[in-house]
């Protein structure tokens, strides 16, 4: 989907209210959905990312691993321009379907590139239903039937429907942590993004919820492009197709998950994977 037209036409394309069914899975070798070229990210004077050039393959799961503080989350936030919300700046190329993300209005970008945070953050003053529907309502969707259908579909996708279907009116904050996180995933999916960014989505959860979320990621991969940041290497090995290893703000190695975990090329990657540091 190469689109080098003006931001207006890109915007009008993304303005289409999403279809009721997600797009069919793509069988061919993954073309890059998003790409960064020599990306440098700063917090004031401090450089958090150095010359990162990485392709995010379409409809695959890309896992980003590395020790704490190596820039994984910062990289993720550059992809949907949340980095600048926290006061940071970025230099270099970041593209979505070939278009520079800085040329796309952040509001529109974030509808196409959704994000799930480390700590579940449902809106406490809204019900479960309203939480999931929040993104759609912001875009002017009023049709009650459509909203209800989408809420049910995404809650099923998030494996939460059976647990909350009788209490959709309860506050979004009244359910357990694991359920809240799945609610946030449903909320993100409801606007039918093309890319889903996940920042350590299961690190604050118990093992059972973690397993459910990993299962979820595995299922979602056929319909969405997923980038997941995780400090849990086993998790990365389980769910991802491609793995990228970051260290001290630099991309050290990227490749097929199986290859990276069994025969890593760089020494640092090997040391991290075998637990010598981090």
């Amino acid at each position: 989907m190469q689109n080098t037209d003006t931001a207006h036409s890109v915007a009008s394309m993304s303005m289409e209210i999403p279809l009721a069914e997600p797009p069919q899975p793509v069988q061919t070798a993954a073309a890059p959905k998003m790409r960064t070229g020599n990306l440098n990210a700063y917090f004031g004077k401090t450089r958090a990312l150095r010359d990162v050039s990485l392709s995010v393959p379409e409809q695959r799961v890309l896992a980003i691993i590395g020790p704490s503080g190596c820039g994984k989350s910062t990289f993720l936030r550059c992809l949907n321009r949340m980095h600048e919300v926290a006061g940071g700046t970025m230099k270099g190329e970041v593209t979505l379907d070939g278009t520079d993300v800085l040329a796309i209005d952040p509001v529109l970008l974030r509808r196409r590139v959704g994000m799930v945070f480390q700590k579940p953050n449902p809106f406490p003053t809204m019900s479960i239903f309203d939480n999931v529907a929040a993104g759609l309502r912001l875009n002017g969707v009023r049709d009650r039937k459509f909203l209800a259908a989408t809420v049910e579909r995404t809650l099923r996708q998030a494996a939460l429907w059976d647990e909350v279907k009788d209490s959709l009116g309860k506050s979004g904050a009244s359910i357990s942590g694991g359920q809240q996180q799945r609610l946030c995933i449903a909320r993100t999916l409801a606007v039918n993004p093309e890319v889903v960014l996940m920042d350590e989505p299961a690190s604050a959860l118990d093992p059972l919820s973690t397993a459910k979320i990993e299962e979820l990621i595995y299922q979602l991969k056929s319909s969405y492009t997923i980038v997941i940041v995780t400090h849990n290497m086993q998790q990365a090995a389980r769910v991802s197709d491609v793995t990228a290893f970051f260290y001290l703000g630099e991309l050290i190695e990227v490749g097929d998950t199986k290859k990276v975990f069994t025969t890593p090329v760089k020494k640092q990657t090997e040391e991290y994977i075998t637990g010598r540091f981090g």
Binding site: N80, M82, L108, N121, P122, F123, P124, N139, A173, R187
Partner: protein, 337 residues
């Protein structure tokens, strides 16, 4: 006695071969262990006494005023609150004009200060960059530091003439069909009082709302932004989350408006009338006390004024207590979330 199996420490072995336990020797030399220290006891209870004094002060205030209004409570009972005769010559007193005046001026003040104050709070908490926000917040807080009398000065010599010469004529000719804008344009009156009160109440509403908005976790804002919400849509969500705290801020502002004395007295015209028009002079509870207390001739007169003060006391205590409880419970809710 040397214990079997233990090598005697040369430092503790005395000349005749017995072993001395150094630690046992020391603590015995210091005397029996003390459970409490006299200084600690005295200091703690001394400060406790003063803290108790603060507590008792509030009750003392209420009690003394209740006692001071005994005469009018006895004579008029609840009618005092609903009668509008205020006649020191005949010794007939009813506080209704002042209660109405206080209500109208405060409501007018809130009608202006709440939207403005919220706008300021949103700007400071959500929109302004850090380097701009700090000096601006300070300026807004400085507004609260200006004494009432200075506001009154400015009110008499700047606000009132401006109202009399420009605003009131304009309102009268364009909106004069409304009962609010009828009557001669003195400048002094309810409108002036409401305007000046709004300036005085605005910093309270703005600073407390700003603090309340800040307690909403950033994670909530990020959730909304990541969904593709605009800044304003995100702010709307934050406002809904913070709504009880903002209510608390408004109540605190109302409390301040109700008790404001000097600025209001200097511009309201000080006439015990109840009228629909904002142009007409009025009288508030605080103003009547300020104007007439020093000259109250009879005991009943003084008692009536003290009863009005007691009313003010009760109203502001309730407003403040409710407001602080609301703000406190909201902050706690977000800490545990």
């Amino acid at each position: 006695m040397a214990r079997p199996g233990v090598t005697p420490d040369p430092l503790t072995v005395t000349g005749d071969g017995t072993v001395r336990d150094p630690i046992a020797g020391l603590s015995r030399a210091a005397g029996p262990a003390r459970k409490w220290n006299a200084g600690d006891f005295i200091f703690k209870h001394l400060t406790l006494l003063f803290a108790l004094g603060v507590l008792l002060l509030v009750f003392l205030m209420g009690f003394e005023m209740y006692r001071g209004s005994a005469l009018t409570i006895e004579k008029f009972g609840w009618d005092f609150l609903v009668t509008s005769t205020w006649d020191p010559v005949l010794d007939e007193y009813g506080a209704l004009p002042f209660i109405v005046g206080t209500l109208v001026s405060s409501m007018l003040a809130l009608a202006i200060a709440v939207p403005l104050g919220l706008g300021v709070a949103i700007f400071l908490a959500e929109l302004a960059p850090r380097w701009l926000e700090q000096p601006l917040s300070f300026l807004v807080e400085l507004l609260a530091a200006i004494p009432s009398i200075v506001y009154g000065l400015w009110g008499i010599f700047v606000l009132v003439p401006w109202l009399r010469l420009h605003i009131q004529p304009w309102l009268g000719s364009n909106l004069g069909f409304l009962p609010f804008f009828q009557g001669p344009a003195y400048g002094f009156g309810m409108l002036a009082a409401g305007l000046i009160l709004s300036v005085m109440v605005l910093p309270i509403i703005a600073s407390i709302s700003r603090d309340v908005l800040r307690t909403v976790p950033t994670l909530q804002r990020e959730a909304a932004l990541a969904l593709g919400a605009t800044r304003w849509e995100t702010t709307k969500i934050v406002l809904t989350a913070a709504r009880s705290g903002i209510l608390g801020a408004i109540l605190l502002g109302l409390g301040r408006a109700v008790g404001e004395t000097m600025a209001v007295t200097m511009v309201i015209g000080n006439r015990a009338d109840i009228s629909a028009s904002l142009f007409s002079p009025g009288y508030t509870m605080a103003s009547v006390i300020a104007n007439e207390f020093a000259e109250a001739t009879t005991d009943l007169y003084t008692s009536a004024l003290i009863e009005i003060a007691f009313l003010l006391f009760v109203i502001t205590i309730i407003l403040n207590a409710v407001a602080r409880l609301i703000v406190w419970s909201m902050a706690r809710k977000f800490k545990t979330a």
